[in-house]
Every structure is written in structure tokens, then in C-alpha cells.
């Protein structure tokens, strides 16, 4: 029960910046009912949502139906628990490493949520897998070969897109260069995800590691899903590790948090009994 309550607040935290006094009164009333640890986490999330210096406060308004504010880009369901603002903050720079499926999940969620994404310099990304995760191909552009200076191309694309995925191809970006691009990303409100290279001082580090596959036997079955350990570490919050699963569901795939997987297994056992 307490978990449900926490999640509900977590879902709302993107709108805190509105700062209406009535809203805050309710927030504190809700805080009162929580344990100390939950309260600390709750407040920490609030601090994360406070805009950085120079960051505009535009768009921090709640929709009529209470959706997350437009300053947060949507992420696949279980990733929201992993990232303190409940999604990717616009203007943030994310350094990704490890499993590609994490990258694909971000792209799929942003395009499915109505945003535009572009993938630079990752010619090996499995597009069929993105489609299965629910991506809208019409809002996804690809630049498989961004030329000699992919960072320059990414800087151009930051103006107009909601998510830019930049494959550095093993190269490293100097801090001076990075600072200009980060400033541009922040002013244009576009999230930049860098992968396959070194980026100095990202806002968030996301890493995925495959820990197991489901469904493949010795001469039988086939790959039905996989489980990954996804870790996130950002400015202001320590490393968080979650076990996530990518499961197939009716011609598509979906991300499930490990708790949900457990619940499903328990449910299936109950049914089989």
C-alpha cells in the first residue's frame, strides 16, 4: 500500500515546479504519511526537479488530465523509477553504455509520445526492435553516416528534435566542445544521449548489461525475452540499479520492472495451482 502511494507521488513530481501553494499544502500532507526513508527520497526528487541556473521554467505546467509536464521526455515504464525526474529531462546529456536495448527503449518511448528523435552514427541499431517497442517511425530520422564531425551535426539537430542519440564511434569529446553543445541542448530543450565514446561530465549515466535470456533451450524454444541490469547515476543521486525485463507481448515487446515480473510469475503459479 505504501509502495502504491509513493508511486503516485513519483508520477506527479514532474509538475511540482508550478508551485501553487494549495498544491504544496497537499504535498506536505502526503509527506506526513510516509516513512522517513520515503520522505527523504521524495524530497530528493523534488530537488532534482528544481530547474538549474539558466534553465528556463517554460512549459512546467500540468495538463488538464494530469499528464507529466512537457519538460520531461517520456521513458519506458520501469525506467521512470530509475530516473529521479520520472523521465529524461529536456536539455540533459545522458551518457549511455552497454546494451543497445536501453537506447532503443528511450528512442521508442520518445517517438511514441509524440516527440521527434534522430539517431546519428549508429548504423547497427535494430530498427525492427524499435518498432516492436512501439516507436513511431515517422518521427524517427536516422543519419547512419554523419561525416567527419558528428558532434557538429548533433549540435544542428538539437534545434528541432526532442531526442538526439549520438554515436561517437569510440572518439572522445573535449570539455570545451562539450560545453557549447550542452548549452545548446539546454537552450533548445532537447535531450542528448551519447553512446560509444567518452563525453565529459554528463548529467546522467545509463548503463545496461544483459544478465540472462528467456526461452532458449538446448535445441528447443527461441529467444522470448531478456533481463538486463540497468544502472543510472546522475548529478545529485547515487547509482541506482534495477533489474528490468524486455518481454514479448502480442507482436510487440514491452519493458517490465523486475517486481512486476515476479508478480507475474506468482500470478501464473497461482493460476496453475
Amino acid at each position: 500500500m505504501s509502495r502504491l502511494g509513493r508511486r503516485r507521488i513519483g508520477g506527479r513530481q514532474g509538475v511540482i515546479g508550478v508551485g501553487s501553494s494549495a498544491g504544496e499544502a497537499v504535498e506536505f500532507a502526503e509527506l506526513a504519511g510516509l516513512s522517513r526513508q520515503e520522505r527523504v527520497e521524495r524530497l530528493r526528487r523534488r530537488m532534482m526537479a528544481v530547474p538549474a541556473r539558466g534553465e528556463t521554467r517554460r512549459g512546467r505546467l500540468e495538463d488538464a488530465d494530469g499528464r507529466v509536464s512537457v519538460d520531461i521526455l517520456p521513458v519506458p515504464g520501469p525506467f521512470a523509477d530509475l530516473l529521479p525526474p520520472g523521465g529524461l529531462s529536456r536539455g540533459a546529456v545522458v551518457a549511455h553504455s552497454g546494451a543497445d536495448s536501453v537506447l532503443l527503449g528511450l528512442v521508442a518511448a520518445v517517438t511514441a509520445g509524440g516527440g521527434h528523435a534522430v539517431v546519428l552514427g549508429c548504423p547497427r541499431l535494430g530498427l525492427a526492435a524499435v518498432v516492436e517497442m512501439g516507436a513511431q517511425l515517422a518521427r524517427l530520422a536516422l543519419v547512419p553516416n554523419p561525416g567527419a564531425d558528428p558532434v557538429e551535426i548533433a549540435a544542428i539537430l538539437l534545434d528541432g528534435m526532442d531526442l538526439v542519440v549520438l554515436g561517437l564511434g569510440g572518439s572522445s569529446v573535449t570539455p570545451t566542445r562539450a560545453r557549447a553543445v550542452v548549452a545548446r541542448a539546454r537552450s533548445k530543450g532537447c535531450a542528448l544521449v551519447v553512446t560509444g565514446g567518452h563525453w565529459p561530465g554528463p548529467d546522467l549515466r545509463l548503463a545496461g548489461r544483459v544478465v540472462g535470456y528467456e526461452g532458449l533451450g538446448w535445441g528447443t524454444g527461441r529467444v522470448r525475452g531478456m533481463s538486463l541490469d540497468v544502472s543510472a547515476q546522475g548529478r545529485g543521486f547515487g547509482p541506482v540499479l534495477r533489474r528490468l525485463e524486455l518481454c514479448r507481448a502480442q507482436g510487440t515487446t514491452e519493458w517490465v520492472g523486475a517486481d512486476a515480473v515476479q508478480a507475474k510469475v506468482i500470478l501464473e503459479e497461482a493460476v496453475s495451482i
Binding site: G98, A99, D100, S101, L104, H116, V118, P123, R124, L125, G126, L127, A128, A129, V131, E132, L137, A138, R139, L140, A141, L142, V143, P144, N145, P146, G147, A148, I153, I156, L157, D159, G160, M161, D162, V210, V211, G212, Y213, L216, G217, W218, G219, T220, G221, R222, V223, R224, G225, M226, L246, R248, G251, T252, T253
Partner: protein, 519 residues
């Protein structure tokens, strides 16, 4: 000259047929339609009894006492022709109705789709017959020729229009009122009295003499008689002289100066396009430098360019050239700038937005991508479209941004044997070769019956080797075996390495390669 083909579909005696259908009388019986007490159309049965166009009503009734006489009603004709047009449109879209009872189609697509013009004609006749109406088909290079061919039910070969028309009586030129001016009948009568009894005799007159002695309609009729294009086909021939060019003095070396020149030139281009009532969908931007270098790039667009869009593209293109890499950058300033529309559509024709809607966000994203296209080239920015296929790479077709989104294969087809989801998250288009071996090191192959000859136990990729912890397959796919060029006989298998890492392997011509990685 680009050869066009026109398919004409003619339902004989349409007013009479429509009148009979509306009155629930058999269309095969004698029917006559009168206007101002004169017969304007009659059925074949009535014609056999001596009824013909121009007879007075009483006379027609005297010649054929059982004839059903109806008053002319264009609304009725049109209303009853609609199902016919819809039936044709269902199999061959793009039908253009000239008048109730006569319709035309562009012949190239239809002929290609059905295999040949003969087959297309047969299919169209069948489709129209299914609505309970008889029709005849004519195919020719030009509209008038095709309509006359439809009256004779003839397929005129390419370039054979004039030859086909030559022996026909001159009256054929006035037989179809929807294609001729009202004074055409007088012209034909005059020509007849002058002794020109066939279309060929009229066509043999020099065009200059026809133009100087007869009216404007005679020029049209003369072109039709010679089988020459009488009006531009709907797939817009390029009007001449749309190019705009500007000499730049001093030569442009800076981007801001280029932007200024681009705007002025775009305005001039669009004034010209507007005067020709066309809009540009493909634009060639050319530039020459003081050192005699020539640069050029074609911009394709799904929707017609606006003046702003043209200016932006020219500016981006110049920006791309002037600030590009050292090897592609011109060695001197740009002295001549030239815009040439390569493909135009009728002004007002607007295709659907590439990004679905036309919101401000979509427009911003589009502009950013088009800008990158200017820097890297048109092919650099790609958009995916769902396609059909069994392997992961075939399921999305990449097309350059701005091109029509056409999948390579039909995504709605069932594709039995498709590798089920989840698809590999990494697809290796290089297909690195690997070796699949059994415990003793013997290579594993797929037998003609579609199974492994020995169970795999080890995978060797380059210098590294992994023990398998699981495997599944092989799943053979004997694709497009009827086509030697694209056909492939392959098998796929999934293996689980001890890392852990799952791979999708593909077996082709005795060797294994990695198609995708699940990670």
C-alpha cells in the same frame, strides 16, 4: 519526347442505356433519347430499325413503332455512370471522366500493373461488365486518338496514332463533343466540302496553312489528326524556361551574402512558377565559381516548395558548399547561381505531410533535418518505413528524407517463418562470418531437409571461441526462389553464448554469419 499512353473507356450509346436503366426498360431493346424533338442518342436495336441521330421523334417512332423514347437528362446520365467510374477506379485509380459514358485513364501505370495493355483492357471491360454495362476500350498515345480508338475498340501501338487515324473519315474528328469546340461540326463540314474526306488527307495539310486559313479549333483538330499532343498530359510536362540564373558580382564567399542572394533568386523562381501555374517538387541548385568549378545538387521534396522553402534550401546548400570540408569546398567565390526546376506539379497539388501532421514541432524537426541534408547530402538523412520480411533487417526499409515512403515489401502480408519478436537490438549489416562447430570441431551445416547435421556446441568468431549454452533452429527460409537475382536459400538459428549473449545466425551457401545480436 516522353511517350505517354492514354486508355479511353467508352460506353456506347450511354444516354440511351441510362434512359433505359432509369425507366427499367431493357437496354438491349430499341431506345431513343430526344432533345428538342430530335433524336440525340439511340440504342443498337433502334439503330438497326433505322433510327439515327438527328431524326425527329415522330419519324423515329414511325421507323420503329416499339421504340421507347425518353427526354435527354444529363443528370441521369451522370448519376448512372458513377457506379461504372467507381468500378474502374477500384482496379485502376486515377480515372478522369470526360463526360458520362466516356472516361480516360493514364495508360502507363495500368499497363504495367496488369502486365500488358491488352490484359488491362480485358480486365477493365470485365470490371465494367460486372456493373451491368458494356464498354469498349481504346489505347493510344494521345487523348483524341485513344477516344477514337475506343469507338473502334482498337489498341493503337506506340507512335502509330497518325497511321491509325489516316484512313478514318473526317467526321470522326467531330464525333466526340466533349473533346471538340462547338464549331467543330462546321469545320468538319467545310473540310468535307473542300474534298478532304479522310483524317489523313487533313493531316497532310501543312500546319501553317491550317493555322492561317481556319480558326483556333482547326489547329487543335489538326494536331489531333496528326496524332500530336493536343493538351499537356496531367503528369505535367515541364514548361520551358523556368530556370533562373543570377551573376554574382562580387563573388559570394560568405554565408550571409549567400542567404541574401538565395532569397532574391527564390522569389524570382516562384514568380516564374506561379506564372506557369506549377509548383516545384524537385529543384536543381547549381553554382559556378570564379575558378570554373561547377557544383550542383538536386533537392527532392514530397510537397511543393514555397518561396521560403526554396530560399532555405538554396541558402543551406550554399552554406554547405561554402563551409564544407576542405576537399569539397570551392576554391573561389561563387559567381553564378542557377535554379532549375526538374519536376513540377500543378499548382495547388499538395501531397500529404511527411511527418503526418503539419504542427510547429514537426516543421522545426523537418527544418533541422533538411539542414543536415544540405551539409551531408540528400541520402544522408533517412527515415524508416515498415516493410515486410522474415529477417530483422528486411522489416524496415530506409528511404532518404523527402522521398516517397515506399516499403520494399508489403508489411501486411503474413510472412510465414518470420523470426518472432523480440527482434535483435543490433543488426550487423556487414554479416561477419563465424564458424559453428560440434564438440569435436566439425563444422555444423544445414542439410537439405532443413536440420543440423550435427548438434552445435561451440561458436568461433575471429580468434575467439565460446561454448554454447543453448541453441534453437535452424529455421529455413527459401525466399523468392523464382527470381535468380534476389532469391535466397537460407536458414536462421539462435545461439546463446556463455557470456551471456544471444546471437541470430544466418546460414547461406555453407557458411554461418551473424545477422543480429540480442543485447
Amino acid at each position: 519526347m516522353k511517350s505517354t499512353r492514354v486508355v479511353a473507356l467508352w460506353c456506347p450509346d450511354w444516354p440511351a442505356i441510362a434512359a433505359a436503366v432509369a425507366a427499367d426498360v431493357s437496354p438491349t431493346g430499341p431506345v431513343a433519347v430526344t432533345l428538342a424533338n430530335r433524336v440525340v442518342a439511340c440504342s443498337a436495336a433502334a439503330r438497326a430499325e433505322g433510327v439515327k441521330r438527328g431524326l425527329r421523334r415522330r419519324e423515329a417512332q414511325a421507323r420503329c413503332p416499339q421504340v421507347y423514347v425518353a427526354a435527354a437528362d444529363p443528370d441521369r446520365d451522370a448519376r448512372l455512370f458513377e457506379p461504372v467510374a467507381a468500378a474502374v477506379d477500384a482496379v485502376a485509380p486515377g480515372i478522369e471522366v470526360l463526360r458520362p459514358g466516356l472516361a480516360i485513364l493514364s495508360g502507363r501505370g495500368v499497363g504495367r500493373f496488369f502486365g500488358s495493355e491488352q490484359l488491362a483492357a480485358e480486365r477493365l471491360v470485365d470490371e465494367v461488365a460486372a456493373t451491368g454495362v458494356e464498354c469498349q476500350i481504346g489505347v493510344a498515345d494521345e487523348l483524341t486518338t485513344a477516344v477514337i480508338a475506343a469507338r473502334k475498340a482498337v489498341l493503337v501501338p506506340r507512335g502509330g496514332g497518325a497511321e491509325f487515324l489516316a484512313p478514318l473519315p473526317i467526321g470522326e474528328l467531330a464525333a466526340e463533343p466533349s473533346l471538340a469546340a462547338p464549331e467543330r461540326a462546321e469545320l468538319v463540314d467545310l473540310l468535307w466540302r473542300l474534298g478532304l474526306r479522310t483524317v489523313g488527307a487533313f493531316a497532310a495539310l501543312p500546319p501553317v496553312d491550317v493555322a492561317s486559313r481556319f480558326g483556333a479549333d482547326a489547329i487543335t483538330a489538326h494536331r489531333a489528326a496528326r496524332g500530336e499532343p493536343e493538351r499537356p498530359p496531367s503528369a505535367r510536362a515541364l514548361p520551358p524556361d523556368l530556370d533562373v540564373e543570377q551573376q554574382l558580382d562580387p563573388p559570394i564567399e560568405r554565408v550571409d551574402a549567400a542567404a541574401f542572394a538565395a532569397r532574391a533568386l527564390a522569389e524570382r523562381l516562384h514568380t516564374k512558377l506561379a506564372a506557369a501555374a506549377v509548383a516545384c517538387t524537385r529543384l536543381l541548385v547549381q553554382a559556378s565559381t570564379a575558378n570554373g568549378e561547377h557544383l550542383g545538387r538536386t533537392w527532392r521534396c514530397a510537397e511543393p516548395l514555397t518561396p521560403d522553402g526554396t530560399a532555405d534550401r538554396v541558402r543551406w546548400q550554399l552554406d554547405g558548399w561554402l563551409t564544407g570540408h576542405a576537399q569539397s569546398r570551392p576554391t573561389a567565390g561563387i559567381t553564378t547561381l542557377r535554379l532549375e526546376p526538374v519536376e513540377v506539379v500543378a499548382a495547388g497539388a499538395l501531397q500529404l505531410g511527411l511527418w503526418g501532421g503539419v504542427g510547429a514541432d514537426d516543421e522545426r524537426a523537418r527544418r533541422a533535418l533538411i539542414r543536415v541534408q544540405g551539409l551531408l547530402g540528400g541520402e544522408a538523412v533517412q527515415v524508416g518505413v515498415r516493410s515486410g520480411g522474415r529477417g530483422p533487417a528486411e522489416r524496415v526499409t530506409l528511404v532518404p528524407l523527402g522521398d516517397e515512403l515506399v516499403p520494399e515489401f508489403d508489411p501486411s502480408a503474413p510472412w510465414p517463418g518470420r523470426i518472432p519478436e523480440p527482434a535483435p537490438t543490433t543488426v550487423l549489416d556487414t554479416r561477419p562470418e563465424v564458424a559453428l562447430e560440434d564438440p569435436s570441431g566439425t563444422p555444423v551445416h544445414v542439410t537439405p531437409r532443413g536440420v543440423f547435421d550435427v548438434d552445435p556446441a561451440r561458436l568461433r568468431w575471429g580468434t575467439r571461441a565460446w561454448q554454447l549454452r543453448g541453441w534453437a533452429g535452424p529455421w529455413p527460409a527459401d525466399e523468392r526462389w523464382w527470381d535468380t537475382a534476389t532469391g535466397q536459400h537460407i536458414a536462421r538459428a539462435q545461439v546463446l553464448l556463455d557470456e551471456p549473449k544471444a546471437l541470430l545466425l544466418v546460414y547461406r551457401a555453407g557458411t554461418w554469419s551473424v545477422e543480429g545480436v540480442y543485447e
